[in-house]
Assembly symmetry: C2
Homo-oligomer: 459 residues x 2
DNA sequence: CAATTTGTGGCTACACATTTA
DNA sequence: TTAAATGTGTAGCCACAAATT
């Protein structure tokens, strides 16, 4: 029985556990999660201090801590020493960026579809298929890729500004596959990874599934600060960081050389595992040198073909420091055994033949064209993103939140994603939406969508 | 300081923690793991009781328990109430069944390569590629597959004796991918899954990576017993089971109908998640009805194309009960986004066109031919496995362990895998080796390998 | 069948470090 | 700068239940 009555105290959460059965801490965690999911506790709400709650429930502080830890690992709350515990900002948002099942009537600017140029790929496949030994590719592939596939991969990465030894490459079934392998193979449940305050939702969902926590790192001008990174290392005990150096998803920001060098240096000193997602790097005409080049022993550099060549290839190249190679090969094996040998071979030929250059160039042309349409209509609004980029980041007027704008747009026939989907931890979401400019099936559809967006903004 | 001196007691492990820094339980766990890995403690060794160790080290019992729990989750020890704690039987074996990097001079009968018949597949691909809309397949695929791909998948599963609603199918990038998705999506670290005493190593490694424990279930005549399963539910608190009903890997056993029904019934009663790996089922001319058919709401049924069509397709069909569909789709998305749309389409056409029947039939013919060679030489030994099966399970004379035989065979130029690689928990490994009869590149090579094996046995 | 052995898991106690005021 | 607020993590206590003797 509580010694004091707390009925007068303003506590944001006053659960009742008088008639529960089973472990207390699990019941508390379950109730907390349920109350968040059903909207009783809204994102950003500050929970009562653990001590106060323990007192109120007349149980030990540690029992609350354990309950809260469970919820924190599920990503529904965020706790900071000295500051308190908060309901996570994205607790209510759906982080899975899947295309809608029924898209009739809706112009899709949500999922990150790239421009489509497949003729050269099909041509290469046709050539390949008529060769006498082609059938052999339907047998097992080599886990992580063959030496020649790695060599062509290295050739591609060089175009992105990273001169890597082919031996250090592993092939994966796409960028997401690489990320999942890194998380499952190099991290444990409960481990922490530092990220930008807004980041790629595929990382969020994978980390969440594997019980790995994402910690937003303090930023200035869209870049991680040195102090913020040091802080996260020392006080948040992060084991690694995830960054998107070029055309950041969703903010489109390209990281400065100074920050790249700084991150590399700190990573080396603190033995951080750096996940460098170069998802868009090949879209840049003159890519900056990646962090991986400054700290090759610390950085897992991922170069996916989805956005620069074709998502259907389901292929990415990952540069892996020697110290992590064995664990990562095993993780990839555990998840997929090997990449598709046909796709791996096809990709190699596209790279070697020079077709890849044409493909990338045609993507750029398409992207520029589409961005010029976007600019034509939205130039008076704050809209981030460069001509070669496949996304734009629209900062909204005060009166909108990301989600409210997205909902309005959906009503009028355009799907966009609000900032809430990209938010990490208890970062306050900015009022912004991401526009996937390459997703609409035609330029006309894109124009139609942009007009609708403009109309909402103008109103 | 310990009150008593334990120097006279026969303790199998007497670590010293007088000058450690950092958390005690972590130090204990690390030391234990290290002593197992470096061979100081051998597989099967009984460790001192937790109480005794706690007394000896003059610390609390719970601290030992916590340390042991860490090691148990890594799979290096196995604890049973009332019985004690043992070093895991496979703590020293390499569970990754990868082909050797340098295979020169060695006949490969280790990794589970299937027979190779690719002409029909290549022909289908050629037809497909010349169609006008082929290029569209290089865009993003639908996560989990398109409706028509699911329908053809259902058609295939019907051949294996499972009449499933296409809606309940998900496509995965192979059988291992399906397993990984199930483990990551439906289980938590620390959860337990019941298995046979010997099982597929790909399950072992994936479970190990994800912190999921495998619990061997008591068997009789190579089949899980009802009592054993009840026991595991009640006392080991298993959340699911993993079974290979047809041509079990590695023992080649095909499960009786009675046991299938029994497992289905218990699964329904105890709400077990049943993972039914039908990896070889399509190789049987008249497959038995799977467990899934008796308990469709409990069973995840996996039908991979690797062993019956081609590993290069990197494709499997998974029948998923409605209650698990969302979580599994998300898990697959987190690991791979989607299957390769080209491979999925190709597989569908192979199935619809009837080419799949020819492919499977030609695999059977090849397998029978190879098995007849094996039988010719080894008929006087205890060798399990039927004519259509791609593996054989050779029970060794007393004087061999699986590993010792495998080592001897390797010396003489044949790679086979010893029982140790398949063992779960602290099961005592039987003296046996698995022969992958379809792996040698030619019949001549197979014959050469079998001769060598016979010579070792005859000696 | 009873006593003993042995591991399990929940809750508690407490020292500590950081953040905020 | 100091004191109060607040979360973290290790170690300890204890009731319990299964397996063995």
């Amino acid at each position: 029985m509580p010694v004091n009555s707390f009925e007068d105290y303003p506590m944001s959460w006053k659960p009742d556990f008088s008639k529960i059965k089973g472990p207390l801490y699990k019941a508390i965690a379950a109730k907390l999660e349920a109350d968040i999911k059903n909207g009783l506790l809204t994102p950003g709400t500050k929970l009562p201090p653990q001590r106060e709650l323990a007192d109120f429930l007349d149980i030990n502080l540690s029992t609350i801590t354990r309950a809260f830890k469970l919820c924190e690992q599920k990503g529904v709350i965020c706790a900071t020493v000295g500051n308190g515990t908060f309901v996570a900002s994205d607790a209510a948002a759906n982080p899975y960026l899947l295309p809608e099942e029924d898209v009739s009537g809706i112009i899709e600017m949500g999922p990150l579809f790239p421009a489509t140029t497949t003729d050269e790929i099909v041509a290469q496949l046709k050539k390949m298929i008529s060769e006498p030994n082609f059938g052999k590719l339907f047998q097992y592939g080599r886990p992580g890729g063959t030496p020649w596939q790695k060599e062509t991969g290295a050739k591609l990465l060089r175009k992105a500004g990273y001169d890597v030894n082919p031996e250090n490459l592993l092939l994966t079934s796409g960028g997401q596959n690489a990320i999942a392998a890194i998380l499952a193979g190099l991290f444990q449940p409960g481990d922490r990874i530092g990220t930008d305050m807004l980041t790629f939702p595929g990382l969020k969902t994978a980390a969440n599934m594997l019980g790995i926590q994402l910690i937003p790192i303090q930023q200035k001008d869209n870049e991680i600060t040195e102090a913020g990174l040091h802080y996260a290392c020392k006080n948040e005990n992060i084991k690694g960081i995830y960054v998107i150096p070029d055309y950041h998803n969703p903010t489109t920001h390209t990281m400065s050389v100074a920050t790249r060098k700084r991150i590399a240096l700190i990573a080396q000193k603190k033995h951080l595992i750096v996940i460098e997602d170069a998802i868009h790097s090949l879209l840049l005409e003159n890519p900056l040198v990646p962090i991986a080049a400054y700290a090759p022993e610390q950085v897992l550099y991922i170069s996916s073909l989805s956005k620069v060549a074709s998502p259907g290839l389901r292929l990415a190249y990952m540069a892996v420091p020697k110290q992590y190679r064995k664990k990562l090969s095993e993780a990839l094996y555990n998840m997929n055994i090997s990449v598709s040998p046909i796709m791996a071979e096809l990709a190699s030929r596209i790279i070697i033949s020079g077709a890849m250059d044409n493909i990338i160039e045609s993507h750029r042309t398409q992207n520029r064209l589409r961005n010029s349409i976007v600019d034509r209509y939205l130039k008076n609004y704050k809209i981030m993103g460069e001509p070669d980029c496949i996304i734009r980041w629209l900062i909204l007027p005060e009166r909108f939140t990301g989600e409210s704008f997205a909902a309005k747009a959906y009503q009028l026939g355009v799907q966009v994603y609000g900032a809430e989907r990209f938010v990490v931890g208890n970062t306050k979401p900015t009022g912004a939406v991401r526009l996937a400019i390459a997703a609409p099936e035609s330029l006309a559809k894109l124009e139609e969508a942009v007009k609708i967006i403009k109309k909402i903004l103008d109103k």
